[in-house]
């Protein structure tokens, strides 16, 4: 119904983030990551951002050196999924200030927090970019405050 999994992979095929919204055995996860990476790296520039994969669909887009790849069911709307991915990228970009692969490498746990604010269990929970960013930055400020208080005490 929503997104089944999300994968961020570099142009060299290195995994930068994986999030699974469905329960499947680890071997199957590994296979999907491997297959999806292969399929997506083989695509050329002007091609459609959608592919069929077994009895599901893959939606992907390349942003600089990173591929954002999402797995959905066959009868889901692939175009809206593309926009969900884009929304995520926009938020990451706003949060990190012109996000690049290094930001995600060093802050992958924060990328997970941001993803949790946008999607829960594969379903979009928030469509306002401002809202997501506000909650995340509030969280960060709070954590920083706490860390400072601890240092001072």
């Amino acid at each position: 119904m929503g997104i089944n999994w999300l994968l961020l992979v570099s142009r060299q095929g290195k995994v930068r983030l994986t999030k699974w919204f469905i329960t499947i055995p680890p071997k199957e996860k590994a296979k999907i990551v491997k297959d999806a990476t292969q399929l997506v790296l083989a695509r050329r520039v002007k091609m459609c951002n959608f592919l069929e994969y077994k009895d599901t669909k893959i939606v992907y887009r390349r942003y600089a050196s990173l591929f954002f790849v999402a797995g959905i069911n066959s009868n889901d709307n692939e175009l809206i999924t593309l926009e969900v991915v884009h929304r995520y990228v926009e938020i990451l970009d706003r949060y990190f200030g012109n996000v690049c692969e290094l930001d995600l490498i060093f802050n992958f746990h924060k990328a997970y927090f941001i993803l949790d604010e946008l999607l829960i269990a594969g379903e979009l929970q928030e469509s306002s970019k401002k809202s997501v960013l506000r909650v995340i930055t509030q969280q960060d400020q709070f954590e920083e405050q706490e860390a400072n208080e601890q240092k001072n005490s």
Partner: protein, 479 residues
């Protein structure tokens, strides 16, 4: 990239992570082989295993170890030993940051039937009542992600209370958590449905948006549930279409596209189940479609969804719209003619959903559709759609009409010898065989296809064909 330049780089400085963590991540990223990566990770896991359980290790150190474990887990390695520490840190982590990472690690490491998950219950119950909304949020997100029967029973009442909390971000997550609890334990239906209905009249559009998404899933499973929800849903959709939603919900010029999408999907389900008022549904879908035509990006997705619904309602409704001059499918024309692959793909998908009677004349002869094949340059996703459509309308004349575009693709030197090329040549040859009724152009065209196919067609096929050519008996070959 040298280590020194990374240390000085703004991304590292801004991240606030320790040097150890950075070194680890860098080492793993730069591994030249799978075996090297495995070695680094295994030695790191051994190191962490030996340190994380020590009595004098600080809460923030555990947090850091957990972050490294998350990284290993993300790369596909087993980090089961870390779960217990993740759970412990949610309980006793000194700072909110530590506890938050604990929740994250717990949700990532737990396979859904893991017995240890039960140990989170106390922490969840504590955090669901915390004075700090961040704790409540972390707990609610964890509940939605973990989804375990025993946890559900222990926390459901507290989650319900959170649907009335003053902060909208908490209410929103609480409703979502309730939905997932309902999924695990359908017996809770009588208790939870009224609460989820209450969500449909929440004053905050963020909350309402999330709740509508939930109802889409509920109605998909049980269409009969639509009755209570539909008025509020249609109301909200009209509210959005009226431009009344705050600008922060805009996405590239379209207001709250995902919620619009969910509303249309609900209407589609209701309509398919033969429920609701078809004329009301048709009208609002038409209105949504009209509004979406002005937009880009996400609007395209909405148009696609609307076309899907319109194609499922009895065609006389659509005919009526056409008679009234409303042109429900005019956006499709724009897409089919587009050069951009995604838009063309969208156009072709819409065509495949639409009833033949609503097709434009220019689509029926196959030429416009076959343009997709000519521009595809190996894009199988696009070409598959075109092929299916051609097969649907195939007649001798159509197959004749599409030759120019097919030959353009077949003669592309970039594609020669690829599996895609073989598939295309084989497909077109078969279409000619199956549908051609006119010897005049059959021979010439088949010859051209065989020439352009290079080595892509099976040798036996080509030999058989030439033999038949020679013997004068041409119309009965099998590929």
């Amino acid at each position: 990239m040298s280590t020194l330049s990374i240390y000085r780089g703004s991304e590292f400085l801004a991240s606030g992570i320790s040097h150890d963590l950075m070194r680890f991540v860098k080492k793993v990223s730069e591994a030249k082989s799978k075996a090297e990566e495995r070695d680094h990770i295994h030695s790191e896991l051994e190191y962490i295993k030996s340190r994380i359980g020590l009595p004098d290790v600080s809460s923030s150190k555990v947090k850091e170890y957990l972050i490294r474990l998350i990284h290993c887990h993300m790369m596909g390695y087993n980090v089961d030993f870390g779960l217990i520490y993740a759970i412990m840190i949610t309980q006793s982590g000194e700072s909110i940051a530590d506890r938050r990472v604990g929740y994250l690690a717990s949700t990532l490491f737990i396979e859904n039937d893991n017995e240890l998950a039960i140990m989170l219950t106390n922490t969840l119950q504590r955090d669901l009542q915390s004075a700090k909304f961040q704790d409540r949020c972390a707990a609610l997100v964890a509940i939605s992600n973990i989804r375990q029967q025993e946890i559900v029973k222990a926390v459901v009442d507290l989650v319900i209370i959170n649907t009335d909390y003053q902060k909208e971000t908490v209410r929103k997550k609480a409703y979502i958590a309730l939905y997932w609890q309902l999924e695990i334990d359908p017996q809770l239906q009588d208790q939870l449905l009224p609460i989820l209905e209450k969500g449909l009249v929440d004053k905050d559009p963020s909350v309402l948006g999330a709740v509508i998404g939930i109802w889409r899933n509920l109605i998909k499973k049980t269409p009969a549930l639509y009755e209570e929800a539909l008025p509020a849903i249609i109301n909200h959709l009209r509210y959005i279409l009226g431009g009344k939603l705050h600008k922060s919900f805009d996405y590239h010029g379209t207001s709250s596209p995902w919620v619009q999408m969910h509303c249309i999907e609900i209407l589609e389900i209701v309509q398919s189940a033969g429920l609701g008022s078809t004329s009301e549904i048709a009208q609002i879908v038409m209105d949504t479609l009209r509004a979406a035509e002005k937009g880009v990006d996400a609007s395209f997705a909405i148009i696609y969804q609307c076309v899907r619904v319109l194609s499922k309602i009895p065609s006389h409704y659509v005919s009526e719209f056409i008679e009234e001059g409303k042109e429900p499918f005019r956006a499709v024309q724009r897409f089919v003619a587009a050069q951009n692959h995604i838009l063309k793909y969208l156009g072709l998908r819409c065509l495949s959903l639409m009833d033949d009677e609503f097709w434009n004349e220019e689509w029926r002869d196959g030429k416009v559709i076959s343009e997709a094949i000519a521009i595809s340059n190996g894009d199988e996703t696009l070409v598959d759609e075109a092929m299916h459509l051609i097969e649907r309308i195939a007649t001798s004349e159509v197959i004749f009409n599409i030759q120019e575009n097919c030959l353009i693709a077949m003669s592309s030197s970039a594609l020669q010898g690829t599996p895609f090329h073989a598939k295309l040549c084989g497909w077109y040859a078969k279409q000619i065989e199956d549908h051609c009724t006119d010897t005049d152009w059959y021979l010439e065209l088949m010859l051209q296809v065989i020439i352009e196919s290079g080595r892509s067609l099976p040798e036996k096929y080509v030999d058989d064909y030439c033999a038949r050519f020679g013997s004068g008996n041409v119309f009965s070959n099998q590929l």
